[in-house]
Amino acid sequence: MPDLAIHTRDLTRDFGALRAVDGLSLDVPTGVIFGFLGPNGSGKTTTIRLLLGLLEPTAGVADVLGHDTRTDAGAIRERCGALLEHPGLYERMTAQDNLDFYARVWRLSSVERQARVRELLTGLDLWERRREIVGAWSRGMKQKLAVARTLLHRPALVFLDEPTAGLDPIAAAALREDLTALARREGVTVFLTTHNLAEAEKLCDLVGVINRGGLLAVGRPDELRSRAGSGRMEITGRGIDARIAALVHAQPAAASVELDDGKLTLRLRDGVDTAPVVALLVHEGVAIDEVRKGSADLEEAFMTLVGGEA
């Protein structure tokens, strides 16, 4: 098995005048849960379609599990599972029939089929409800079943396009737990798109941020957080008010300053030290309680990346 599950170079896809994916160069190692983050319409779904060989790229190349998407798409789909924008379940059929059908599609033997369907449905607490019609189920249950379907044939790589979209927070958390457990147990590489940053932070080993078809950053969630957090300071203490905020803002070192309930949040320009700012505050009579540096969360990192690009 190649070390990289996904490898793309300058992958581009145009729809008429619209460039949906713009020169995407991305490496996803095998065995990781990779989160592909981006706002709606940023090119996440098109990227999945390109990687599955469902769409031809306008330019560039993509290898998935060592197969070229343009010439060997059948081999890619043979070894991948996909939960796309919609669950894709047959709502007039039972849960068991849905899985049974896809198990036949993947040519599982009769014995293997029965065992695998039982194993997955049991793992997701759906076994007792296997004879129910899927159309009557909640969206959360349908998504669980769709996840089970993607894993039926023990794929090496699974694409999940916004798997928790439209779920209530409890159902989303439950599905996240199931997803993590299944992915770890099955040893599968997961390529997951989402615009839910908390989800990406909890689930993913690696994340990539895409906007307007272009890749803005790739790294571990903590790396992206610290990158976005560099130059960022939070200062709390007594005596911090609008006058102090204005004074700090007037300093050439400060790129931005925010005052919120006695807490000063500022972003310093690149290469600027924090000491002069602290000295200024002390000089102005502020009793400093705490100074924290570089503690952005993934959402702030995302907003910085996407906002900086806009």
Partner: protein, 245 residues
């Protein structure tokens, strides 16, 4: 490819025959049509059903109507219910998916016609119990079986093309039903408005024809038409195109 196509046939037929996961519920749904074609119609026609080959013509409607609705649901329905993309993302080839859908429509329509015809035979035998065992004319069996199959294939292949272009199942079914009615009704209407003399001449010409030759010719025509429609449908049924639809 054949095994994959049969997997699609399995799924489509299971969806039709096990509505809500139950065969009983599906049979209850089908009972009305079976009573019409297998009981009511044979009761109306009587023993002529097995004596006159032309009397079984009403059964020929069954595969056409059923194949058209099954193929509309199988293609436009999959797209409308957002299940087609998942199917396209699987290992199945475009060809296997389409051929499977056409086969399912043909098997369902033709199978229903065969069941209706057998039920009709039972009805006629029960209601004419004193006349010995009544059987269909062998020519009628060949005509009904052969042309039923070719007709169902014609409708399924043509229906696949219509369904690929229709935005919804309803639109696809409407277009197909209109086409079927046009094929059947236009000649009938045309016949009705022809002047008496011409009509008489036409009947005289037809009655002098060799029906076996006409039957073979019609069968060859249908086979060629089926293959052409299948080829056109295969050319149209392509992943990259369907994903963007």
């Amino acid at each position: 490819m054949i095994a994959d196509a049969l997997t699609i046939v399995w799924k489509d037929l299971r969806g039709l025959l096990f509505v809500s996961g139950s065969l009983k519920k599906s049979l209850r749904g089908l009972a009305f049509s079976l009573v019409i074609f297998g009981v009511f119609l044979p009761l109306q026609i009587g023993p002529d059903l097995v004596r006159e080959p032309a009397a079984i013509l009403p059964f020929a409607w069954v595969p056409l109507l059923l194949a058209s609705s099954v193929i509309a649901d199988g293609i436009a329905g999959e797209r409308e219910r957002h299940t087609l993309e998942t199917l396209l993302a699987s290992r199945l080839s475009d060809r296997a998916i389409l051929v499977g859908k056409i086969l399912a429509a043909v098997v369902y329509g033709w199978g229903f016609m065969v069941v209706s015809a057998m039920l009709g035979l039972i009805t006629v035998n029960v209601t004419n119990a004193g006349n010995g065992l009544l059987m269909y004319d062998p020519l009628a069996i060949v005509l009904l079986g052969g042309f039923g199959l070719l007709g169902a294939s014609f409708v399924a292949c043509g229906g696949a093309l219509v369904a690929l272009r229709a935005p919804t199942v309803r639109q696809a079914a409407q277009n197909m039903n209109l086409a079927i009615f046009a094929v059947v009704l236009i000649p009938a209407i045309a016949m009705g408005i022809l002047p008496q003399d011409i009509r008489r001449q036409l009947f005289e010409t037809l009655s002098g024809l060799d029906w076996a030759t006409i039957g073979v010719g019609a069968a060859v025509f249908l086979v060629v038409a089926d293959l052409l429609l299948l080829w056109a449908a295969l050319a149209r049924f392509q992943r990259a195109r369907l994903i963007l639809d």
